[in-house]
């Protein structure tokens, strides 16, 4: 996993392969720890993500709440079809901005 700051407001997380119980808490803490105070837009590049479980959803919600507390947003970039289905099944596509294409 890699976290880069695109500009003073936007941070991009890439290289997420799986977001499951085994790594969910660690991913959440690492992203939070390296998030500059000025970031208001957190882009999670999900193009490499092959699998997501309910603990991974918990991490997404937690980051969403962190960003909301600073009037910012989390965007999910290019999730694969199976990941998008899990988001839709749990209706979290209503909470996150999902960017395809």
């Amino acid at each position: 996993m890699n976290i880069q700051n695109k500009d003073s407001q936007t941070s991009v997380v890439t290289g997420l392969l799986e977001l499951v119980a085994a790594n969910a808490a660690q991913v959440r803490d690492e992203i939070r720890a390296s998030l500059p105070a000025t970031t208001t837009c957190l882009d999670l590049d999900m193009s490499a993500l092959t699998f997501l479980d309910s603990s991974g959803l918990g991490t997404l919600i937690s980051l969403h709440k962190t960003m909301r507390s600073r009037n910012g947003t989390v965007r999910l970039i290019k999730p694969a079809a199976n990941v998008q289905q899990i988001l839709e099944l749990t209706r979290l596509h209503r909470v996150f901005e999902i960017v395809n294409g």
Binding site: V20, A21, S54, I86, L87, E88, T90, R94, I98, V99
Partner: protein, 588 residues
């Protein structure tokens, strides 16, 4: 009786998240070998992960030493999984499981297991518990081949999927075409409402919604005003809602929390939501939109009850279209502002032109008196003017006036006053009567627009060396006479013109011996301020007039002296009002 052959397999994993995850991956590979379609493989992977995770999560330290056991059995019609845990067990809910609150970080595992399996049961024992889950699979024929009926079902499913994909592609194409069309209009000055209506109609069609409400933040930023309701209904008018209003409005919620709000069978629109009756409340989404972090408005889409909720793709569509709309709206506003300010600039140019044309191009001689006048405009053109008119028998009628207000209306009234006075030469030697008549003439027009004019009129008579003056709410005449330390403010002032229709004025007669100096002025002179904010005031103006009389001989030199002293007082402070004055000097 149906006899079924079932394939079975058993996995044992150490009780930690990484190990049980590996077991589920191996289980998926095994299920793939049984020809399960991709959709079923995905569902089983998630179900197994959630159930083995629970076995790890709830294990106490003693149980951690024991393995988690995952058993699968695959028949023609279904797949069954058993997960054995060594925990103290938990209560397995019967029936459907509700999703937790969107903000909750836990509680979705059970929902996923229940949603993706057809049957599930949890058996608690003294030292271990077993979770059994079953999910139907597409049935297989003899020799492991699909039966014809299954093939037909598969084919129908594939066709439906293809139709969906084609529809999505087509809607993407439509969106692209629409966006290209809109982008060609960006920057052009279009009517926001017309543009919004077209965009929203396209959006309704592409996103398969049947109603929409578009609201914009009012200019004072306090309420959401309705711009558009689709389908249009002339009978219906949707009132604006105040942002601080205390009601269950999804629009206010979306604007305040900067988050889309959904409504549907599970979370219906509140009964007192202002949108009730204007939007199809079966399923809907409300989106607040911002430009440069500033709220611009809200857009709400709705569908009738029978329709499905909006998909992620349709929500994306809504965001993209509304972002476009927001930019167009803000653009149009900027253009409107620019046009308005250029109209104002042009108006000020016209007003300045009128004002300049009112001033006499030359001041007639009136020996032994010498006159000089000044009119300095502030940045915004005001309604000051002065006039010097030959009054017969060598006399001059002097007029100095200040029309309340600025811009073209003030300049126009100044022009009308000038003509009105000039049209009554028979009253030039009776300033009080002249003011009363001018007031009667102008009163209806002035009072209609709530304007008024202050004016000082004076008849300067060189033969008897005196001045007769009358004032309509104007600054007094300042007179310095030789041998005096002070100048005096003369005259009794009546109502400004335009206040009382039948008011009368009093006139004052003052002798002007040689060396006398008289100042007629507007309040732009006495009320001007220096950078510290101090006002000049009548007292200081009188002192300046005394100094002017002492230091200068003729009227033009007196004017220069006075102007330089006024400039000294003002320093760098900007001129807030017009400064107009007439100086009369009795040459010795």
């Amino acid at each position: 009786m149906h006899r079924e052959f079932r394939d079975m397999i058993k996995f044992e994993a150490t009780c930690d998240f990484a190990a049980v995850r590996n077991a589920t991956l191996a289980a998926r590979v095994w299920l793939a070998e049984k020809n399960l379609p991709e959709k079923d493989l995905g569902a089983w992977e998630l179900v197994l992960v959630e159930s083995v995770n629970n076995a790890v999560k709830y294990a106490d330290p003693a149980a951690r030493q024991l393995p988690v056991i995952l058993e699968l059995s695959c028949g023609d019609r279904d797949v069954e999984a058993r997960v054995t845990d060594q925990t103290s067990g938990f209560d397995w809910p019967e029936g459907e499981v509700a999703l937790p609150d969107p903000d909750s970080e836990t509680g979705r595992g059970l929902f996923l297991i229940k949603s993706l399996t057809d049957q599930s049961a949890y058996f608690r024992h003294s030292c271990q518990n077993v979770l059994v889950m079953r999910r139907a699979r597409p049935a297989m024929g003899k020799n492991g081949l699909l039966e014809v009926s299954q093939l037909q079902t598969r084919l129908a499913e594939a066709e439906a999927a293809l139709t969906d994909m084609t529809a999505e592609l087509a809607s993407n194409y439509e969106s692209l075409v629409a966006l290209f069309r809109y982008s060609s209009e960006l920057g052009a000055q279009t009517n926001s409402k017309v543009f919004s209506k077209r965009l929203l109609k396209d959006l309704l069609q592409i996103s398969e919604a049947d109603s929409a409400v578009l609201r914009l933040l009012s200019p004072n930023g306090k309420q959401l005003e309705t711009l558009l309701v689709l389908p249009e209904d002339p009978q219906l008018s949707l009132r604006a809602i105040a942002l601080d209003q205390d009601c269950a409005s999804v629009e206010i919620g979306a604007a305040r929390n900067r988050q889309d709000i959904w409504f549907g069978p599970e979370e219906p629109l509140a009964e007192d939501d202002p949108l009730q009756g204007s939007i199809s409340a079966g399923n809907g989404i409300c989106h607040a939109f911002f430009v440069a972090d500033q709220l611009v408005g809200t857009a709400t889409l709705g569908r009738r009850a029978s329709n499905r909720p909006f998909t992620a793709a349709q929500v994306n569509l809504l965001h993209t279209f509304i972002d476009f709309l927001a930019i167009q709206i803000v653009n149009t506003r900027l253009l409107d502002d620019r046009t308005a300010s250029s109209v104002t600039r042009r108006e000020l140019e016209i007003a300045a032109e009128i004002q300049r044309s009112l001033l006499p191009s030359m001041i007639p001689a009136c020996l032994p008196f010498e006159l000089a006048a000044g009119c300095q405009s502030a940045l915004q053109v005001g309604g000051d003017f002065y006039d010097v008119i030959p009054a017969g028998d060598g006399a001059l009628l002097l007029v100095i006036a200040d029309v309340m207000g600025k811009g073209v209306p003030a300049a126009l009234f100044a022009a009308v006053l000038r003509s009105t006075i000039r049209s009554m030469p028979q009253l030039f030697d009776q300033p009080a009567e002249l003011l009363a008549t001018a007031n009667r003439t102008l009163f209806p027009d002035l009072s209609r627009v709530d304007m008024f004019v202050t004016a000082q009129i004076a008849c300067l008579n060189p033969r008897c060396q005196k001045i007769i003056s009358a004032s309509a709410g104007h600054c007094p005449l300042l007179v310095w006479q030789p041998g005096r330390q002070e100048a005096v403010a003369l005259g009794e002032s009546g109502f400004p013109l335009g206040i009382e229709p039948l008011t009368r004025y009093v006139q004052t007669e003052t002798a002007l011996p040689p060396d006398a100096l008289v100042l007629l002025y507007t309040d732009g002179l006495s009320e001007m301020r220096n950078p510290k904010g101090e006002m000049l005031g009548e007292k200081r103006l009188i002192q300046l007039l005394v100094q002017t009389a002492a230091s200068s001989s003729g009227a033009p030199a007196s004017k220069d002296f006075l102007l330089s002293r006024l400039a000294d007082f003002r320093e760098q402070a900007p001129l807030m009002d017009d400064q107009t004055f007439i100086l009369i000097k009795h040459l010795p």
